[in-house]
Subunit: 217 residues, 2 copies
Amino acid sequence: MTVEQRPVAPSGGLRELKKQRTRDALLRVALELFTTKGYEQTTVDEIADAVDVSQRTFFRYFANKEAVVFAAQDAIESHFVDALRQRPPAEGPFTAMRRAALSAWDTIEELLSPVVPVTLYMRTYQVIESTPALLAVHLRRSAAVEEQVAGLIAEREGLDIDADPRPRVAVAAFTGVMRVAGGLWGQGEDPSVSAIRELTASYLDHLGPALADDWRA
Amino acid sequence: MTVEQRPVAPSGGLRELKKQRTRDALLRVALELFTTKGYEQTTVDEIADAVDVSQRTFFRYFANKEAVVFAAQDAIESHFVDALRQRPPAEGPFTAMRRAALSAWDTIEELLSPVVPVTLYMRTYQVIESTPALLAVHLRRSAAVEEQVAGLIAEREGLDIDADPRPRVAVAAFTGVMRVAGGLWGQGEDPSVSAIRELTASYLDHLGPALADDWRA
DNA sequence: TGTCAACTGTCAGCGGCTGACATTAGCCTC
DNA sequence: GAGGCTAATGTCAGCCGCTGACAGTTGACA
């Protein structure tokens, strides 16, 4: 009942519907402000005022100012994890992660658009990458996902995650590369889904060669 | 008292010395408090009071509360970068990074002890790993170092960092593994330098095997 | 319609942090 | 030494994020 409701699950009730509306309004207004005047330049009071709601109410919907920024990211991350779960067990760890990532990008529009315009999210991502405080939180959240993914990989391979280092190591390398791609995309000029998708694919392709200690081959 | 003493060292001024002392005092008191009662449970006012200094003065020495925590980390990171710079150019990227990391751990005592007791730093590291806000900042800082290291690697190999993805990819994989080791060490029970050193070495050894897509070999 | 529970607003307050201005104290010259 | 200069510090006021407490409002449901 507190802060982390799902954007979905409407199901009748005027009360529920109003809540849904306020939450959506807060989310969109906030992202709009963040992407136009910047995250730190935007005050929680401004957001609340724009939605005609008290500041206290804002904090009843979102645990803190950051939480608004990562509301969409939440969905995306579990989207990727779901995709990974559906990979056939025969695929090796890297193949599975790679395909899960790419297929997650492919279906991101359907996932996001009910909640937030996709282009707004894309701009939000760039705000994350360029705002130190947000980047820090983003990295920490990624680390948490990473741990979860490592667990999944260990499970797929029938390994004990605390006994065999390979799941965590492989996932660390994988998400490290993903992060590089995301970072470069955030700095680039093409804020489209296809751009980040291609970057991801290309950089993952370079992981193997990059690990050889002799690059002059 | 009668004899006028000329300061032998040019940096000997009383003013400079006092500044040094307050800074050191703030640093140690802060780390001591953080490691005993926790980072968020410690107030900047407490720290300042313990050193008989106004809160405002604290913020003149450290940009923010976090900065105290990472003061030592600063030294360590540039220590590693320096070690990497001194690696013979013939070494491949991974060999160079690996040896730089291990040699940095080997000489960490001499580096730290003038500023802060090494055991205090070790405990501080565990506070970082277990405090979400600090972990986030730590990861962001690591990302910055990563970028710097990628530049160095590119330079060693005579590559254009924006044209060839391999430097960033390799470094991302490398530091990903380092982070896993650091995280596990922070959760473990042996807060010694040798423990983290061994963990680091062992996990780096697993990077190659972990990247093979078939782990049943 | 009236009761109950959920949702919201208001208020007071804490902690991190900053700008502005006054005060102290090291430094340097005469 | 006395006095002027300036860096370092203290004090004060205030913003912003965030929280607990309490009271008022408004859906839900008998």
